[in-house]
């Protein structure tokens, strides 16, 4: 396997837990990343973005006072956002279905479930490199196209006429590992989605493979 050289990419790590930042930073260094900046919360990170040309942001969800979702929304839609298009990987232990969808709808590119591994981080970076997605402005949403695949069997109404054909480039380009696990995970994710009603009870957490399958349609 020979993959991508990440040495020219600038990474911004946003996490209020210094240990987690240290862990992510160590992994990125070992993967050959040279330029890494850390921020302890969303507000700090937003300030840093004004002078740090981040190519990828790895951002935790639970932070005070500005949490990960607020930060993503600020980056995407803030009138003073220095870099609304920057790819963002949401890193979190919140892996219930509704949380994954909430993160997606805030404008993140990828979702990485804790506990993390080097393979997991690289896999998400690789997906961002290999699947550059156009951005969509629709209603209050601004962010990467949430449709990652065209469904040839879809017979329903075209809800977003202006976006016809926008995701052709991303068809079939998920990582090899995901391809192996895709069908199995998708079935599981759908089964969990069915169970994940609005009854206010426990919602099951998804594995990384199930999250990937869900986000990939």
């Amino acid at each position: 396997m020979a993959d991508y050289n990440l040495s020219r990419l600038n990474f911004l790590i946003v996490d209020d837990n210094k240990h987690m930042r240290a862990l992510v930073k160590s992994i990125l260094h070992a993967l050959g990343v040279k330029s890494i900046l850390e921020a302890g919360d969303g507000a700090d990170a937003f300030k840093e973005l004004r002078h740090f040309p981040a190519d990828v942001i790895i951002c935790d969800w639970s932070m005070q006072p500005l949490d990960g979702l607020d930060f993503v929304r600020m980056v995407r839609t803030g009138t003073d956002s220095p870099n609304p298009f920057v790819p963002i990987i949401m890193l979190t232990g919140h892996t219930e279905m509704h949380r994954v969808m909430e993160a997606r709808d805030s404008g993140v590119h990828e979702f990485l479930a804790k506990p993390i591994s080097a393979k997991g981080i690289y896999s998400r970076i690789r997906t961002i490199i290999e699947n550059p997605r156009p951005f969509i402005r629709a209603g209050i949403y601004f962010g990467p196209d949430r449709r990652r695949k065209e469904n040839p069997n879809y017979n329903g109404p075209e809800r977003r006429k202006a976006d016809k054909g926008e995701v052709e480039g991303s068809v079939g380009s998920i990582s090899d590992k995901l391809k192996d696990n895709d069908d199995k995970a998708k079935t599981k994710a759908k089964a969990k989605a069915k169970d994940d009603g609005d009854d206010g009870g426990d919602t099951p957490e998804l594995s990384q493979d199930e999250i990937n399958a869900l986000l990939n349609g």
Binding site: N5, A22, L23, F85, A162
Partner: protein, 158 residues
């Protein structure tokens, strides 16, 4: 989703900044090295977890004493347990991830707290202390599995 949505191509593309292959490219060795880096941090992890346990104990003591805003204290317990859940598995402490998750699940459902709930939190915090004190990595082996089973029984009883 409305018909007036707009598609915009981002001005930059990461593919222009990365090369495939060649010296410095990520390969299986690089992934293995990165995993080794994580393994080498396992010693630090024990210290991080000990720091987190102190925070948990402090929040627990305040909850028990009825000292401070309960909601805030519960959120504090949740946040620390959530961090511990998130970190454990990265360092081969899957048992910590499992117990941390159980504590998160307990606390997130609580809107008020009484002696029963405080006792349940105590049981989970004790279990986390045992995992770190005895360095029960992986699934904790026999001792770990007994701990998990014991937790279930104690929590259901209380």
């Amino acid at each position: 989703m409305s018909d007036d949505s707009e598609t915009i191509q981002p001005p930059t593309n990461l593919q222009n900044k990365v090369e495939k292959g060649g010296p410095g490219a990520v390969d299986l060795d690089a992934i293995a090295r990165a995993e080794k880096v994580i393994a080498n941090l396992a010693g630090d992890y024990i210290n991080w977890a000990k720091e987190d346990l102190i925070k948990l104990e402090n929040a627990y003591a305040k909850l028990k004493k009825g000292d401070g805003d309960q909601k805030e204290l519960l959120l504090g317990v949740f946040n620390v347990a959530h961090d511990m859940k998130g970190q454990g598995g990265s360092f081969d402490y899957e048992l910590m991830t499992a117990v941390g998750d159980k504590l998160c699940r307990l606390v997130e459902k609580l809107d008020k707290i009484g002696p029963k709930e405080i006792e349940k939190i105590r049981v989970y915090v004790d279990a986390m202390q045992v995992i770190i004190g005895h360095k029960l990595n992986g699934d904790g082996g026999k001792e770990g599995q007994q701990l998990l089973m014991g937790l279930e029984v104690l929590v259901q009883k209380s």
